[in-house]
């Protein structure tokens, strides 16, 4: 009897991929997670090209280390943990690169206006501009708080699942989410006053 892979859960698909090396099962998983992961990583690092590379790298790791997944945990927790780790590394690398490129200008006490290619008002709609402002505000929130807020309010995950992904207890997750929200509220007060 032929199995309809599309009907299988994430955990069943990865099991099929582990046991029978079914590439189709992997492709279905990629199809299911490529957009949620892209959204999560982009909101965290704020750079689309880098975000795309991070998600690609996440999928490659899933493919290569498929046997390290244990069915005890949810597949979504496992793949978000991988993506989160890679996103954090990429974000740190970006910040370091930005710091070095500013230092290369020579004069330490001078300030520079760095052109931001990502934000282009001429090609954006009103909602797009609002999104951009929110994204900039998100990037100003502390990394640990931002990560928790994105997983909760953008991805819609439960506190329990976030705690598993971030490898902290639920109390810490709630605390981080509240602090992140508080920071965002301060940063976005102009939008709410409109």
């Amino acid at each position: 009897m032929e199995i309809n892979l599309h009907e299988l859960t994430d955990e069943e698909l990865i099991l099929e991929f582990q046991q029978n090396d079914t590439e189709r099962a992997f492709e279905i998983l990629v199809h299911r997670y490529k957009n949620p992961l892209t959204n999560y990583v982009f909101r965290f690092i704020g750079n689309y090209d880098a975000c795309s590379d991070v998600v690609q790298e996440t999928m490659i790791k899933v493919h290569r280390y498929k046997d390290s997944y244990s069915s005890v945990a949810k597949f979504s927790t496992w793949i978000y943990t991988i993506a989160g780790n890679l996103a954090r590394t990429e974000y740190k690398r970006q910040r370091r690169r930005q710091f070095i490129s500013i230092s290369d200008y020579g004069d330490e006490h001078k300030t520079f206006d760095i052109p931001d290619e990502a934000y282009r008002p001429d090609v954006m709609t009103d909602s797009g501009i609002k999104d951009e402002i929110i994204q900039r505000a998100l990037l100003k929130v502390k990394d640990a708080y931002r990560e928790a807020v994105i997983l909760r309010d953008v991805q819609g995950m439960s506190y329990e699942e976030i705690a598993e992904i971030l490898k902290v207890n639920e109390g810490t997750v709630k605390s981080r989410i509240n602090r992140g929200r508080a920071q965002l509220q301060t940063l976005l007060k102009d939008i709410y006053n409109e």
């Binding site: 959204n39 909101r43 929110i134 819609g156 509220q185």
Partner: protein
């Protein structure tokens, strides 16, 4: 519930974040991904084949032999190599059985102690000289004094100095022993005769010889008289 209270408190923020447009993956995401995965697989295969090539028997046997030979050579070289020490850099060997005597007075004192116990060969020699002087008393008291003076302390020390240094440096248990005439002869390789002992030979004039003869006769007469009286 505190969580629900927090949700109400930050309701605006939550609503704003929920309304954010979903960022989607690029259209060619899957194609790029599969291309990367296939290239990774190719890399793995390539690495595996190189690894396998290294361990094929035709290469493994000579390389194992070479490795074994290298190990043997290493051990042979290591075992046979002696650590040569630069003699100029070496510390002098300390001989514990030897005590260095810096002060010469110590040697003299020991010699005097020895003198009290038994006569040393040097003293014997001095006595012999004295007796020879008494025999030749006819040549006058001046000559006697000169002979005795010829063995002053300085000369005695000089005599001691002539003894080899090694014998001066004595062990703590053995006292200093001055060499006998025979020993000196053996040590130096030269026989000590009366002629070599620095005696001053005086040629007496005829008048002096007469005076000496008279004195000798007087002494003999006095000696004879004293014997008769006894």
């Amino acid at each position: 519930m505190p969580v629900k209270d927090d949700d109400k408190k930050y309701n605006d923020v939550i609503k704003t974040l929920n309304q954010l447009q979903e960022v989607k993956a690029p259209a060619d995401f899957e194609a790029r991904l599969m291309k990367k995965i296939n290239s990774e697989k190719y890399k793995e295969k390539k690495v595996q084949t190189i690894w396998n090539q290294f361990f094929i028997p035709s290469r493994l046997i000579p390389s194992a032999g070479l490795a074994a030979a290298a190990i043997i050579v290493f051990f042979v070289v290591t075992l046979n190599s002696e650590e040569l020490e630069d003699p100029l850099q070496m510390e002098p060997r300390v001989r514990e059985d030897i005590m260095e005597i810096v002060d010469y007075d110590e040697i003299k004192l020991e010699r005097e102690d020895k003198k009290q116990k038994d006569e040393s060969p040097l003293e014997k020699r001095t006595n012999m000289t004295e007796s020879s002087v008494t025999e030749d008393r006819g040549s006058g008291e001046r000559m006697e004094e000169e002979v005795i003076e010829s063995f002053t302390d300085d000369e005695m020390i000089a005599d001691i100095d002539s003894v080899p240094t090694e014998s001066m440096i004595t062990s703590t248990t053995e006292p200093i022993t001055l060499p006998t005439e025979g020993e000196t002869e053996m040590a130096t390789g030269l026989a000590i005769s009366k002629e070599n002992l620095n005696f001053r030979q005086i040629q007496l004039s005829e008048e002096e010889q007469e005076v000496v003869e008279q004195l000798r006769q007087k002494v003999q007469i006095q000696a004879a008289d004293s014997l008769k009286i006894e």
